[in-house]
Subunit: 407 residues, 2 copies
């Protein structure tokens, strides 16, 4: 018989990659709270509070603002599969790994995908989106806000305006930016926006906040197909094509989060506690203060690595505040540097995907780690490891430049 | 501005419904442990340990034994959508709400569903399954082990034998029984078995353990379709029809849990900590001791309610040990009784679904609650509430009869 292994007992590690990052202590404590039954009034009260909290986090009036029980990718798939029926046209705005993911998921919905593609490290010109939308007349436009694979933040507002003008729905993946950079859902005129907890919200992966406009909700409700096992509860199926997934059927999940409380899944209560606490922490700090804190930390990372003689990846005009791409200098083994950051300093920085593999590192400063001490510590460690690996920077220059951003 | 509400602060409640139930304190503590990066060697070590632990819990040698990031329903959908392509035949064994759920999900896969249906409260005769399998020659047979909606446990071994003989794959939903009743996956000859944490494993909902036989894994791998965003990593797509879901694409999830560590989702680390600890707690107790503890608790509930003059629902020969259905006596308002159990004793017992709505209560005794004190407390409270509601039992008879089971 295999043994049952040991208690969780790993070193405390400073997670300065593109996410997941360290979880806020209050969120860790919330997850250790005992459960309630999922229809107990106290628990449905927590569900309603979670809806109200995420309306504020998403800066929206949308009634339908709740959680999908899965990672941020689950939120993306729930949005796309609930909107897109086979044969529906979708325009996907793609300039990074997560734009590609949107098109992959849309293809699996058997939607007809039109890609508006751009170079990694830049954002897409809204005119290109407008051209595609005018030509294709899609049901949906899908776009990533902050794509951690490229560190770029796509301006959404112009795309929202285009979608309204052409009567297309707009989906935005705000996984990497929500509660770290402004995501004003209503001002964007976005119809569905999803996120995860493991980036700027400072929680663990495993719960996907989502918000849905009334017009998107109406479309989705038209595709409702109530399970026979619970059909006695008076729910009515819609006229549209049944949604291809049961688990991600947002029409049923909305019934579950509504006063009807129609049973769907068994809510992941501990993750709901986590999501609720993430939002409370963010709102108690205040969104504007939080955005400013992420912006300062990002600026300090940039100032620090540039002072060390390193170059920042991508278009600085559209760089996400919370993640910074750094070109790996010639002659330096990027993976060795990352490994030594981990083994000698207990600090994690990120690698890269696809065309950027082996070319850039990614340093995140978000959630509880978007703070001076975390940035300075990371820069000091990076300087030492680079020196040991043969790349010399002026000693102390990175830390000094970053500290100056804060002074 | 809406306020940010209060800290989680609800009364401790004894959850004696059909699940979720109270979480084991060690599992609550595990969830409050700080994160690691998802590719940190300590974290991939935890992933490997989790695989080894669940092989023991599932009583299997299956290499592919891991977690799906979602509730137990996510595990079901991952299994069905990864096996079933449109037009595939599936035989669904159905005698309860969760059998219906299997057929609903299979229909959304555009599979051709043949139902072998039976009366709620009984199990299905294997001969009926054999007849359907011989006629339809399905790719897959899908069956619930313990269906909490009816409290019946379907014998699986005969169905496994039928499936091997007819070269069909067998999927079993063991959400409500794993680690509470024997689920010997290899002895069953089941190809895919899924579960959740929120029943006999004594954890929160939100992670779905799954195990997959080599022959099922081979079929699924033939449908692999690697995301373009990570395609540089050398993964090869299969010849079969692409799986309709990205999030539930078990071929990609197996690559993620393999030594290749191909990035798919961001693992829900806190839920992995919970799942790992649930398995450790179960295996340290020992599966046989655990099954016996659940059997005693179930027997005590039955003895107790019968001594109170109540009748147990369903076929006693096939009753799940961990959930008991109880006919609501004539003239008693079942919902009022449940409400008073909650408000006056902080005890939750379960309601029922579909044809049993308003007709039975369901009392669960599982995980950390499959213990004498929980059973006795519940019976004492039920007796009092029933007396206040006008149903009189011999005072103390229920508690005494249950205590006798333990003596």
């Amino acid at each position: 018989m295999t043994d049952t292994f040991k208690d969780l007992d790993h070193p405390p590690r400073l997670l300065m990659g593109p996410g997941p990052i360290n979880v806020h202590p209050r969120v860790l404590r919330a997850m250790s709270v005992q459960l309630l039954g999922q229809f107990d009034p106290e628990f449905t009260g927590y569900m309603n509070e979670t809806m109200a909290l995420y309306r504020q986090v998403f800066q929206t009036q949308n009634r339908w603002t709740f959680l999908v029980d899965g990672t941020s990718r689950a939120g993306i798939e729930a949005a796309l599969v609930s909107v897109l029926a086979p044969g529906d046209d979708v325009v996907v705005v793609n300039a990074g790994r997560f734009g590609l993911l949107l098109s992959e998921i849309a293809e699996r919905c058997d939607a007809r995908v039109t890609l508006v593609e751009g170079e990694w490290g830049k954002v897409i010109d809204p005119q290109a989106v407008e051209d595609a939308v005018a030509r294709v007349k899609p049901r949906l436009v899908a776009c990533v806000h902050g794509d951690t694979s490229t560190t770029m933040a796509q301006p959404i507002e112009a795309i929202g305006e285009i979608c309204r003008r052409h009567d297309a729905l707009l989906y935005v993946d705000a996984t990497a930016t929500l509660a770290g950079m402004p995501c004003p859902v209503d001002q964007w005129q976005a119809d569905i926006v999803t996120a995860g907890l493991q980036k700027c919200l400072g929680g663990p992966s495993g719960s996907a906040p989502i918000t849905i406009s009334d017009r998107a909700a109406e479309h989705i409700a038209g595709r409702k197909h109530v399970e026979r096992g619970i059909a006695t509860a008076g729910a009515v199926s819609g006229a549209g094509r049944r949604i291809a997934s049961n688990y991600f059927d947002l029409a049923m999940i909305m019934d579950y989060w509504s006063d009807k409380r129609l049973n769907h899944h068994t809510e992941a209560a501990s993750m709901l506690y986590a999501a609720r606490e993430c939002a409370r922490v963010a709102l108690e700090e205040g969104l504007d203060a939080r955005f400013a804190r992420h912006a300062s930390a990002g600026a300090a990372v940039v100032a620090g690595v540039e002072a060390m003689g390193l170059s920042v990846y991508g278009d600085p005009a559209h760089k996400m505040t919370n993640v910074t791409g750094i070109w790996i200098p010639a002659g330096i083994d990027g993976d060795r540097v990352r490994a030594r950051m981990r083994t000698e300093f207990e600090i994690e920085i990120g690698t890269a995907f696809g065309p950027l593999t082996g070319k850039i590192w990614r340093i995140g400063a978000m959630g509880v780690n978007a703070r001076k001490h975390a940035v300075l510590t990371t820069l000091a460690a990076l300087e030492a490891v680079l020196r040991w690996e043969g790349f010399s920077a002026t000693p102390g220059a990175g830390v000094d430049a970053a500290a100056k951003v804060y002074s």
